[in-house]
Subunit: 210 residues, 2 copies
C-alpha cells in the first residue's frame, strides 16, 4: 500500500503542534479556564503573557503572568521584545517573543490567552492558528462576573461592559465558540480539549509558522 | 448587549444537527467503531444501511443493517427507495431514503457509515456533512483484519486489498482522519466523539440539507 506522507498521522509521525488562541470579552473567565486546563494536566505549552497590572491573590509571577512594572513594560516595547501588546484600561499586556520561541521549541501544542483585539493581531500574523472565542452563558452572567471582581471600580465596570459588547460582535474572527457558563467550567474545558483533539485529526493540518 | 442570532449557541438555542459520515477502506473496522459508539450511548441517530450480504454472527436485522435479498434490493433500486447504492464484491449496499427522513426528523446528530465511493457520492449531495476517514494503524494491520474474517475467500481478500489501496489514496475527500489501531478501539471512538463535540462549537455551523 502506498505511503501518504502529506498526512503525518498516516505516515506514522506526530501531528504538527497547534497554536490555539483562547480569547473572549474581559470578565468571561479566560484565566479560570486556563487555570483548570493546566491543573488537569492537559498536554500543551502555555504562553505566559507579560502585564503591568497588579497581581491578584493566588496568582504566581512567571506562571499566571509575568508581572512587570509599567516602566519595565515600556522598555520591553522599546526593545521590541514583544510579539504583540496593548494598553487596555490603563494596564499593559503583551506577549514576549521569548515565550513564543520557547513554545515552538517545546514541540507541544501551544495555548495562548489574549483579548479580542490581540486575537485579531495574532490572526494577521498566524492565520493558521485555531481561534476559540470564550463567551458568557448570558449577558447577565458577564455583568455578574465583572461586578464580583473586587478589583473593579464602578466606572471601570461600565467601560468593560461596553467593550465586551463590542467584543461579542467580533465573533466572526473566530473558528469556534465555547460558552463558559456559570458553574460549568468543566464543560467549557472539555469542549476546548475536544477541539484540540479534533484539530489534530485534520486531513490537512493547520500548520503555523511564527 | 446585542443578541447574535446567527450563532445558535449564543442565541441560547440548540446547535443544528450534524451529518457525520464515517468511511474508510473495507476491513478497517467501521462496523466495530460504530458498534462501540452505539454501546457507549453517544447521542446520535444512526442510519441503518440496507445490504444483500449475509448476516454475520451477532448482527441484528434492522439494527446493524437491514438484511434483504438481492431481489428485494433490486426492487428498492427500481422504486428509487435508495439515496445511494453500490454493488461491491457482488453484494449490494445502499441507504434507504426513509432512514434519512427519520434521521433528520430525530433532531439529533446523524451518523452514517459508508464505503469510500459512497462517501464521495454523499459529499456531492451534502458537502456540508463532516467526513471522517477511518484508517488502519498500518497496511499490515489491514491485511491481518481482512484475513481474520472467515467470510473472506483468498481471491476476495486480494481484491479487497487492492481496492483498499485505491481507497487510501482518496483521503483528500475527507475532513478528518482517525486511526483505528489494533486494540485501541476506544481511542478511535474518543477521537470521533471529540470531532462531533468540536464541530458543534463552530462559529459558522455546517448545516446540511438532504
Amino acid at each position: 500500500m502506498t505511503e501518504y506522507h502529506y498526512n503525518p498521522l498516516l505516515a506514522g509521525a506526530q501531528p504538527q503542534p497547534l497554536l490555539i488562541v483562547i480569547s473572549g470579552p474581559s470578565g468571561v473567565g479566560k484565566d479560570s479556564v486556563l487555570m483548570r486546563m493546566r491543573k488537569l494536566g492537559l498536554p500543551f505549552h502555555f504562553v505566559v503573557t507579560a502585564t503591568s497590572r497588579a497581581r491578584r491573590p493566588g496568582e504566581l509571577d512567571g506562571y499566571d503572568y509575568h508581572f512587570v512594572s509599567e516602566e519595565r513594560f515600556r522598555e520591553m516595547i522599546a526593545n521590541e521584545e514583544l510579539l504583540e501588546w496593548a494598553e487596555v484600561y490603563g494596564q499593559y499586556k503583551g506577549i514576549p517573543r521569548f515565550e513564543i520561541r520557547e513554545a515552538m521549541a517545546s514541540g507541544r501544542d501551544v495555548v495562548l490567552r489574549i483579548n479580542v483585539d490581540g486575537a485579531a493581531t495574532i490572526k494577521a500574523l498566524a492565520p493558521e492558528a485555531i481561534f476559540i472565542f470564550l463567551a458568557p452563558g448570558s449577558p447577565e452572567e458577564l455583568r455578574r462576573r465583572l461586578m464580583l471582581r473586587r478589583t473593579e471600580d464602578p466606572a471601570a465596570l461600565e467601560r468593560r461592559l461596553e467593550v465586551a459588547a463590542d467584543e461579542m460582535a467580533r465573533l466572526e474572527l473566530f473558528d469556534y465558540v465555547v460558552l463558559n457558563r456559570e458553574d460549568q467550567l468543566d464543560e467549557a474545558v472539555n469542549q476546548i480539549h475536544s477541539i484540540m483533539i479534533a484539530e489534530k485529526q485534520r486531513v490537512f493540518p493547520r500548520q503555523v509558522a511564527l
